[in-house]
């Protein structure tokens, strides 16, 4: 095994922002090489350089010791490099099938041989356990399913070097496991994988080498056998890191929200709700576990007023909701960390500070006469404060949100939603793409909100997260709730089974 890929002194800057500084990295053939680093450390940028989407400001790339100039993704494809991007590269208006075959030049025919290719893809997806309906449009499937499509896309292309930028952020453990099986198979076929993740367990499991990045620079590269999660965490954040532990008191508060036999497009199993009832009390975290795409998105949209149920009642703060609409819920003290931060959570072209205050702009704190004149000074001060408090890494609060790293975008949403001091917090994949430090911080925030009397609905594909934070756990499967489990000493085995739809408890 020799060095397959080598990056020498790669620097990438965007105007004044230096995202990568003098990166030296060598990756051996047939290994899984993990990149680890805080949000905004420059991992995605480095990979985008490798795939030809970005041009390095300085530095060289060698493949098999031959210097290459990757000036476009087309070139990268030719060199056998494929990538699953952190922000999905899926064309929403096209079907899963069409997305998979985009840009493919496998056979020289002019026409799309749909039947033959579909069969081929089907075999591939089955052999890797990535089941997905190929005729659905991307718009209509969940984030988790989209992730599966992204993985299928690179697999189908059969690259020599696969870059996986946080592919597990929205996968359940079980799905992640099957992804690891895939990775193992690929490595066995002497393919090379660059893996990016914030989850230590995964990293320790799958990596051969781990390179730690901090503020755009390589801190070190270590062999997996010679390190452990604690060392890695400290290397990454630059000081010692101790994750928090939380107690789980039984909630005594009043019921904040209750759903009574809710149905919503129940004929569409995976994107509907079927006879669903639940209630959440003040001081309680109700965790919903489950494979993404089993109605979680619809549940979240329902309890934030974005969709209206076909049947059943929603009672919020002892008041029956008749008028659905997010304003109604927001004014009743509901905060929402939505599943898709780019589309639902942020206005990418606006600045951090504008995104932070948009929801409460008419409050006295930010404007005179309910919005007739903005208090720019207050807004600036507030934004500066939150940027510091939530450790949002940016050049200034005036920076456009779209230019932040994925993790830091998430922090902007968390900051905005928690600062509203909600009575009910709906958090969907709240730590998706956050580094361990930030994840820990968000967890602390959620728990402290709980302790101050907020009711929390936590929807996450990350079972660890659900187990860690919830006082009460439910599992969603095909639009239904599959039983309810205590948050203290949860029956992990049963929960896992329920997630696969295998067991129904009373």
């Amino acid at each position: 095994m020799g060095t397959f890929l080598r990056m020498e002194n790669v620097t990438k800057s965007f105007g004044k922002v230096v995202a990568n500084k003098n990166i030296n990295l060598s990756i051996e053939k047939g290994e899984v090489h993990t990149l680890l680093g805080e949000n905004g450390a420059g991992k995605s940028t480095l990979m985008n350089v490798l795939i030809g989407l970005y041009q390095p400001t300085e530095g060289d790339i060698f493949i098999n010791d031959v210097k290459v100039k990757i000036d476009s993704p087309a070139k990268a494809v030719k060199l056998g490099i494929g990538m699953v991007h952190q922000h999905f590269m899926l064309v929403e208006d096209m079907t899963v099938f069409e997305n998979i075959i985009l840009g493919i030049t496998k056979d020289s025919s002019v026409f799309i041989k749909a039947e033959a290719i579909k069969k081929e893809i089907l075999e591939l997806s089955e052999s890797y356990g990535l089941n997905i309906d190929m005729d659905k449009r991307i718009e209509d499937i969940s984030i988790g399913e989209q992730q599966r499509v992204e993985i299928l896309k690179v697999l189908y292309r059969g690259a020599e070097l696969l870059i996986l930028d946080e592919p597990t952020a929205v996968l359940t453990d079980e799905e992640a496991e099957s992804l690891f099986d895939i990775i193992k198979r690929l490595v066995a076929e002497n393919k090379t994988v660059i893996f990016i993740s914030h989850k230590m367990r995964e990293i320790m499991k799958i990596s051969d080498h781990i390179t730690v990045l901090r503020s755009g620079e390589v801190v070190t590269t270590v062999k997996k056998e010679e390190t452990d999660p604690d060392i890695l965490a400290s290397l990454m954040v630059g000081h010692e890191f101790v994750p928090s532990k939380f107690d789980k008191p039984v909630a005594q508060g009043e019921v904040m929200i209750s759903l009574d036999h809710i149905c919503y497009h129940k004929e569409m199993k995976h994107s509907g709700l079927n006879n669903l009832s639940l209630e959440i009390k003040r001081g309680e975290v109700l965790g919903i576990a489950g494979v993404d795409g089993n109605g979680q998105s619809q549940l979240a949209q329902l309890v934030t007023g974005l969709i209206e149920p076909d049947e059943g009642e929603v009672i919020l703060k002892a008041k029956k909701i008749s008028n659905f609409g997010s304003l109604e819920f927001i004014t009743s003290g509901v905060s929402h960390v939505p599943e898709d931060r780019n589309k639902m959570g942020l206005v990418g072209d606006m600045s951090i500070s504008e995104n932070l205050v948009l929801k409460s702009i008419e409050s006295e704190q930010f404007s005179y006469f309910r919005g007739l004149k903005l208090k720019k000074k207050n807004i600036d001060a507030y934004a500066k404060n939150l940027v510091e408090k939530y450790d949002i890494r940016c050049s200034s609060p005036e920076q456009a949100v779209k230019n932040l790293s994925g993790g830091n975008q998430q922090k902007v949403i968390i900051a905005r939603e928690l600062e509203a001091k909600p009575d009910l917090l709906i958090a969907v994949h709240p730590t998706r793409g956050l580094d361990i430090g930030a994840t820990n911080f968000v967890h602390e925030c959620i728990i402290s909100a709980r302790d101050s009397g907020c009711a929390v609905l936590l929807i996450s594909a990350d079972l660890d997260e659900v187990l860690k934070l919830s006082t009460q756990i439910s599992v969603m499967y095909e639009g239904r709730l599959m039983g309810s489990y205590p948050g203290d000493n949860p029956p992990i085995k049963q929960i896992s089974l329920a997630m696969a739809g295998k067991q129904i408890l009373n």
Binding site: T57, I330, K343, V347, I361, R370
Partner: protein
């Protein structure tokens, strides 16, 4: 660094204009005229005298209104290509009020004037509401609806001008009475106060967009509808209202044009103002103040070009070619400086300097 950046912001358009003149100059030489003389007249005709300056600003006035109408809608994420129709409908409303109302009832001129302005705003707003409503309620693309409504408005005006409102067998309406005309700044500076109304509207919109909560929300709707919905903003209402306001701005522009400059309607009235407005809004980078500047630039090109054509006898087609070249080069120049590659290059150059 900042200083150098601003230097480039100013220098690039200037270089671009020079280049456009250079290319245009070649054509002028080819037809046997003197480009220097032609350009001198271009400048003289737009800024060279008080009268020329006044003409430029008078011509800029309707363009400011249609430009602002486009800017406002754009900021809410909708394309209003219908400013022309809204402008015409506003003008129709005003000419009706101004020529028919005094015959029906005896009202003091200022009252009629105010009614006329309101009528322009309402008609323009109504004509803008149509694409807005069809978009919100029927999901129709506002671009196509507003284009089609332009045709309808133009034909309706043509009908009035040739039919019920025709005056003395000439296809034009009666003129607005003297006491209803917007006064001029002075006899030497023949600029009517409507120009300042346009400035005021621009400032108001600027204030609204950047200093008020509704402005912020409107911009957020324009940038990301889904997120705005999640934020509790009533997106449909914003879209509809922004269309109405956009139409009202254009309609007011029509009223002011009728009372300040054209005084009557005739075939071809208002034609091209809508599309010019869209281009102006974009040249002004969707900023109300930028829109005013772009409109003045546009108008200066037009008036200067008239003088250039008349005084040096260069055919209108060549004059139009020069105009188009100026737009092509100026926008290309700014776009060039915005490219990441150029930016990086500039950064490097400055570092070395």
């Amino acid at each position: 660094m900042r200083l150098q950046e601003t230097f480039f912001k100013v220098a690039i358009p200037l270089i671009a204009i020079l280049l456009a003149f250079l290319v245009g100059g070649m054509i002028i030489v080819a037809i046997g005229k003197s480009p220097m003389e032609a350009y001198l007249f271009l400048f003289k005709g737009s800024f060279g005298s008080e009268a020329a300056l006044a003409t430029t600003l008078v011509k800029a006035t309707p363009l400011i209104f249609t430009g602002l109408a486009a800017t406002f809608a754009y900021r809410c994420g909708v394309f209003n290509l219908g400013a022309e129709g809204q402008f015409i409908m506003g003008s129709i409303a005003s000419i009706m009020v101004a020529t028919l109302l005094p015959k029906a009832v005896a009202l003091p001129a200022p009252i009629i004037f105010i009614i006329s302005m309101i009528a322009g705003i309402v008609f323009g707003g109504f004509w803008g509401a149509l694409p807005g409503m069809l978009k919100v309620w029927r999901g129709l693309n506002e671009l196509i609806v507003s284009i089609l409504l332009n045709y309808v408005a133009t034909l309706f005006m043509s009908y009035l001008v040739n039919g019920p409102m025709m005056e003395r067998n000439i296809p034009q309406t009666a003129a607005v009475g003297d006491q209803l005309r917007i006064p001029l700044l002075s006899n030497t500076m023949r600029l009517h106060y409507g120009f300042f109304a346009a400035l005021l509207v621009a400032l108001l919109i600027h204030y609204f967009l950047f200093q008020t909560s509704k402005g912020l929300q409107l911009r957020s709707v324009g940038l990301n509808q889904m997120a705005s919905k999640v934020y509790g903003i009533n997106v449909s209402r914003f879209v509809l209202i922004s269309f109405i306001i956009s139409g009202a701005i254009a309609g007011l522009g029509g009223s002011i044009e009728v009372h300040g400059y054209s005084f009557r309607l005739m075939p071809g009235y208002g034609s091209g103002f809508g599309f010019d407005g869209v281009a102006i809004a974009l040249i002004g980078q969707l900023n109300p103040i930028g829109t005013v500047i772009a409109a003045c630039f546009y108008a200066a090109l037009r008036t200067g070009a008239n003088m250039m054509q008349v005084a040096s006898g260069i055919p209108t087609s060549v004059v139009a070619i020069v105009q188009a070249l100026v737009i092509i080069f100026v926008i290309a120049g700014t776009a060039l400086t915005n490219l990441p590659k150029t930016k990086a290059l500039l950064l490097k150059v400055f570092k070395e300097v």
